[in-house]
Amino acid sequence: MNVSELTSATVPPAGPEDHVRGAGAELIVYADLGCPHCAASWQRIVAAGGRIAFRHFPVASKHPRAPALHAAAEAAGRQDAFFAMIDSLFADRGHVDDPHLWKRVEALGLDLDRFEADRRDEAVAARVRRDFESGLRAGVTGTPAVFREARLVPLQRLPEPSM
């Protein structure tokens, strides 16, 4: 197997390859699309933005479906629907099998054949792994992990979303 560099390193600043939404003060968010805590916190994180850079942090042993969901988000991203898929997956965690993903793709108006090919692309898996490794090197041990100016921000420090 390829040996990656996994020693400690600060969180890389958001760059052109990151998935970024919004403007203003930047939060870098490592999240697991199979993680209930991430889903529950997503609205709060969104409300606290600013600019959000989303980074993949699937923990497959704990959430066996996570790798497929992260690949689905990347594949949707190739059709400019990355955050639309993230929002969709976090809004409804109960429907994450393949036929449910196809329905989501349809609802988002994406090309299903292209989505199916893209989500199995090795480059997609490598892209997800790259984010995971940068989080791991920054000491992420649980999700969601939110960084502001390269420092971990406890979730409770983020403002409450207005109802």
Binding site: M1, V3, L6, S8, A60, S61, K62, P64, L136, T141
Partner: protein, 151 residues
């Protein structure tokens, strides 16, 4: 905690399958002992599932990772199944916490081990230790790779 440079205390504990495991079984390679407080607790679940994600990377650097807590082999077996872990989990169950105590990793007040990592080198000598300031603080997997890279 046990100090780097001292000989790692030898022990034999049963793993989740009832197999007897000793650090000396792995002589010639490194062993990372991961003492943790309790199967199924939220922090321990996070910790071990993150380590599971990079288990191959740890092993490719010539180290074996062994989890140790005061839970029984049956609890270990269920915990591994629930989290999809392949990391061997050793039962420091009876006498309770005896191995943790020999490594200076037992918290009498809580009746569990603390959360700590102990790297034993190829010759059975403690090379590096990390003790979490509180049981809620999880050492990131990056610290394991730092320890394996420096030596």
């Amino acid at each position: 905690m046990i100090e780097p440079g001292t000989e790692a205390p030898e022990f034999t504990l049963k793993d989740q399958d009832g197999m007897r495991v000793s650090p000396s079984d792995f002589r010639g390679g490194k062993v990372m002992l991961c003492f943790y407080p309790a199967d199924f607790s939220p922090a321990c679940s996070d910790q071990l599932s993150i380590y599971q994600e990079v288990l191959g990377e740890i092993e490719s650097r010539g180290a074996r990772l062994l989890g140790i807590s005061v839970d029984s082999i049956w609890s270990h077996r269920a915990f591994r199944e629930q989290l999809g872990l392949e990391i061997p989990l050793l039962a420091d169950f009876h006498p309770k916490g005896e191995v943790a105590a020999r490594y200076g990793a037992y918290l009498e007040e809580y009746g569990t081990s603390n959360r700590s990592l102990v790297l034993v080198d190829e010759t059975g000598v403690v090379e590096w230790v990390h003790e979490s300031p509180t049981p809620l603080e999880i050492p990131g997997a990056n610290l394991i790779f730092d320890a394996l890279a420096d030596r």
